[in-house]
């Protein structure tokens, strides 16, 4: 199997490492040449592998490149292996292709940036991590890529970290993703416990075989597959910005626009969709999990589309649009229509990257401002940008011929036709389909509003900005044109079979081996969906034109006046950020404060750190008193110690046991000598405590007959005559 597979992620990663270490030494030209060449070479290598092994990718499980064993711990064996199959090959091509275009675009967009090398290093790093995510043959390798893209996302959102808002937006993205990643990890653990491996092909085969290890009930009567799928989906929710973890994506627009286009529209945020599609077989085992995926997707699609209606920042509108479109994709994969979801992922990558790059081009012209209330009439000033925007806009709206039309239809038709939910949940599919149609109407409306406010009517910018309006340089316009072309034509990959029997659903057929069975969509349904969505798209555009054609018109103002609360809520994004702030951030911050004050300040700083210093300090202060610096006193203390030693050693050793036996009125005392028993000791026994010794001699035992019962004090004196030392032992004796 081809070992050049490892070159695909390695090239950008190496370039990233080089640029991070030595980028500052190179001129701008060298930096972007290295960066673009690395990604471009990765694209060429993937294309080479892809087309060379085309039949194999199509028919089999794909190609594996085993680099080595990464982890071997007990039962866990994880290989650092890359796999290119029909799905990951396609993703790989898309990531490297769009990545290369955006690298080229960035050379123009960031021409005046100081930290040029750092930007391209991060961008390269991102491409490497994304390719690792796509090509990873096991969940841990995929997770490395997953975290890698998260890291790059964080680094690039906060690229202009000089402004606190950008830095905190980066942190927000990172932390929100952590919540999802916890789910991803738990999902991995569950799968490992159930199946004993984390290799994706093995997992997929196990799931396809319907192995009892996955269908056994785990918690609340739901099978392992359900919980694993649900937790993995939690990771996808974080990464792909779905409800309830979508809040980071709008803020992520703080990063440079090429980053928004590459990471937060075309590639990274679709990782969740890709992951669900890869593990599709697992999800098919758990219809409820699929329903949750699709339900969350549809809800997000609608919700984000509504919020997008009221946003006035060019990139924010696009961000909510991305969230909404990701919802579409999740409905696609959630209805078992994996090919449809991936198809939309593709077309979306083209038109959304195109839209973002247009936004970049417009903001470039507008001196960095993205406020659409200050734009208008830019069509004359930015002809190329406008044309590309028009194509992408029509694509996202779902106007026939354009790519978005076909991919959206594939999802909607799949939702209506799906049977994966089983008889009890059969109503879910059509409901979601209907919801998506409403979301499509919203999409058409807000995108058209955006188009109208930016490109039609009179320019509302101030004179200074207006004077400097200019079309972007070729480095930016070139990629735009390519992406526009893609947005126009990418639909060819998935024409509905109703339109073309021989060339219909190319992508579905291509992915059939990798993704398994797809919902069967009847011809009549295809026609119906096409007709309806075309009408909806046109209706949305028409409505938007009535409201905003050539600037904000009378109906829009009337609507705002009639529904002030609704408008305010939409403008305020339904205050989700504020709600999260109250529900999560503030309690957490309070808790952290308590921990800071109690644990950190008092327990650690005061007691654990301060306590020891106080202890050592006090000990030092006390011991210092001993250090008088007077040799004679040291010697005197030495002499005292010696005397104490002599005192202890010279005394007779205490008997290890004093045995007292009482028989009637007779008491017998027997001393058992200790280990260091010495001879020539003298013993004196005073039995009645009158001070006179009743028995004296070398015998260690003596007896005494008491005249009458009572309570007596027994004193035994042991004398060592050689040292002239003695020791006294006292006991009490009760004579009954």
């Amino acid at each position: 199997m081809p070992s050049e597979l490892r070159m695909i992620p390695l090239l950008p990663l190496l370039s990233a490492a080089y640029l991070i270490l030595f980028g500052r030494r190179h001129s701008r030209e060298s930096v972007h040449r290295i960066a673009c060449l690395a990604v471009g070479a990765a694209f060429l290598v993937s294309a080479d592998v892809f087309f060379f092994w085309f039949p194999i990718l199509y028919q089999s499980n794909g190609l594996t490149d085993l680099v080595g064993t990464w982890l071997a711990s007990g039962d866990l064996q994880v290989d650092l292996a890359l796999r290119m199959d029909a799905l990951s090959g396609l993703m790989c091509l898309m990531v490297t292709f769009v990545g290369t275009l955006i690298h080229i675009y960035s050379t123009g967009y960031l021409a005046h940036e100081q930290d040029y090398a750092r930007f391209f290093a991060y961008l390269n790093l991102f491409c490497g991590a994304m390719l690792l995510l796509v090509l990873g043959d096991s969940l841990p390798v995929m997770f490395v890529g997953w975290e890698g893209v998260g890291l790059c996302s964080y680094l690039l959102i906060g690229f202009w970290y000089g402004e606190a808002a950008n830095a905190s937006a980066g942190k927000k993205a990172f932390i929100t993703n952590r919540v999802g990643d916890l789910g991803f990890l738990i999902g991995m653990f569950l799968l490992f416990r159930a199946v004993g491996t984390l290799d994706i092909p093995v997992l997929v085969d196990t799931a396809r075989a319907g192995s009892p290890s996955l269908t056994a009930a785990l918690w609340w009567g739901q099978p392992v597959a359900f919980w694993a799928a649900l937790f993995l989906f939690m990771g996808a929710v974080g990464k792909s910005a779905q409800i309830p973890l979508y809040v980071w994506l709008p803020d992520a627009m703080a990063g440079p626009t090429p980053v928004s286009a590459l990471i937060h529209a075309a590639t990274m945020v679709t990782a969740g969709v890709y992951m669900v599609a890869r593990l599709g077989a697992l999800y098919l085992l758990a219809p409820v999990a699929l329903a949750i995926v699709a339900g969350v997707g549809a809800l997000t699609a609608l919700f984000a589309a509504v919020i997008a209606l009221g946003q006035n920042d060019f990139k924010k509108v696009l961000a909510y649009s991305t969230i909404s479109q990701l919802g579409f994709m999740f409905v696609g994969v959630g209805t078992g229509n994996f090919a449809g979801g991936i198809f939309h992922l593709f077309t979306h990558a083209f038109f959304k990257a195109g839209l973002f790059l247009c936004a970049g081009s417009v903001m470039h012209a507008m001196a960095g401002s993205g406020d659409i209330t200050r734009m208008g009439g830019l069509a004359q000033k930015l002809p190329f940008t406008t044309w590309v925007f028009r194509v992408c806009w029509l694509a996202i709206c779902g106007v026939p011929i354009f790519s978005g039309f076909f991919s959206k239809d594939a999802i909607v038709a799949g939702a209506f036709a799906t049977e994966v939910f089983g008889p009890r949940l059969h109503w879910v599919g059509p409901t979601l389909g209907a919801g998506l149609l409403v979301a499509a109407l919203g999409t058409a409306f807000y995108m058209s509003r955006l188009y109208c406010l930016v490109f039609t009517g009179e320019c509302r910018a101030d004179l200074d900005t207006r004077a400097h309006l200019h079309e972007s340089p070729f480095a930016m316009v070139g990629p735009l044109l390519v992406l526009g072309l893609g947005a126009l034509l990418a639909g060819v990959m998935g024409l509905p079979p109703a339109l073309s029997r021989s060339h219909g659903d190319l992508i579905g057929r291509w992915l059939a081996t990798a993704l398994g069975r797809q919902p069967e969509v009847s011809r009549a349904l295809q026609w119906r969906v096409m007709a309806t969505s075309a009408l909806i798209a046109l209706a949305g555009i028409g409505l938007a034109w009535r409201f905003f054609g050539g600037g904000v018109r009378e109906p829009a103002r009337r609507f705002t006046a009639a529904w002030p609360h609704f408008t305010a809520a939409v403008r305020g994004k339904f205050f989700i950020d504020e709600i999260y702030d109250w529900l999560v951030v503030r309690p957490l911050r309070g808790l952290s404060r308590v921990f800071f004050l109690v644990v950190d300040r008092i327990l650690i700083d005061k007691l654990l750190v301060g306590g020891w210093t106080v202890l050592v300090d006090t000990a030092g202060r006390l011991l210092r008193l001993v250090q008088v610096g007077d040799v004679q006193r040291y010697l005197a203390i030495f002499a005292i110690g010696l005397a104490a030693l002599v005192y202890v050693m010279a005394r007779p050793v205490a008997p290890s046991e004093v045995k007292v036996r009482i028989e009637g009125r007779s008491a017998t005392v027997d001393l058992t000598e200790g280990k260091a028993a010495v001879d020539k000791l003298e013993y004196g026994f005073d039995f009645d405590g009158d001070g006179r010794e009743d028995r004296v001699g070398a015998a260690a035992n003596a007896n005494w007959l008491y005249p009458r019962p009572g309570h007596y004090q027994l004193r035994i004196r042991i004398k060592d005559p050689r040292w002239n030392t003695s020791r006294t032992i006292a006991r009490t004796i009760d004579i009954p």
């Binding site: 007077d630 004679q632 005197a636 002499a639 005292i640 010696l642 005397a643 005559p721 050689r722 002239n724």
Partner: protein
């Protein structure tokens, strides 16, 4: 016990009494003298009497060495230093930490009392009661001790000579004048 033996023993006791009295009185005087020069002189007396005691122990070589090395060379060294360093001492015993040091002396006295008691109590032990010169040929003479030194104890003997050399060099180094100017090679 015949008369001759008795009178010899008597004479021996008298000699021992005089010599040990010299040793102890000399020692006490040494410790109590205010003027170091007098102290040195008393110490000479102590060491001379001690050499006599050595002689009564048949340690002829050591007795001669005691006179030569101690009462002679070392004491001359002391006299030199006393002459260099001598300053009037206002108080012979420092006030500071007197309690501790007095306690130290008492402790030393206690140890002395214990060991002295033990020795007197056990004086009938063969080891402590022995009073005759051992039946060893040339006991304590230069030739006998010298033979031991150069045969069995040759290595320690050479080591001690090295130690003496080191002491000489160290003494010279310590007392050398350290000049302030940098032309001096000593720093």
């Amino acid at each position: 016990m015949n008369l001759a033996a008795h009178s010899a023993s008597m004479a021996e006791t008298i000699v021992f009494a005089i010599l040990s009295a010299g040793v102890l009185v000399g020692g006490l005087l040494t410790v109590t003298r205010r003027n170091p020069v007098s102290a040195v002189m008393c110490l000479v007396l102590t060491f001379a009497a001690l050499a006599g005691l050595f002689a009564t122990l048949s340690a002829h070589f050591l007795a001669v060495l005691q006179i030569l090395v101690y009462a002679g060379a070392v004491m001359v060294l002391f006299i030199f230093v006393v002459m260099m360093v001598n300053r009037e001492e206002s108080t012979p015993i420092a006030r500071q930490g007197l309690v501790t040091r007095a306690a130290g002396v008492l402790a030393a006295g206690y140890v002395f009392y214990r060991v002295a008691w033990l020795v007197s109590h056990e004086r009938t032990l063969p080891l402590l009661a022995a009073s005759a010169t051992p039946p060893v040929k040339d006991f304590g003479t230069v030739s006998a001790v010298g033979a031991l030194l150069f045969a069995d104890f040759l290595f320690p003997f050479e080591a001690i000579s090295l130690l003496l050399l080191l002491a000489v060099v160290g003494g010279v180094m310590l007392t050398r004048h350290v000049r302030e100017d940098h032309s001096s090679r000593v720093s």
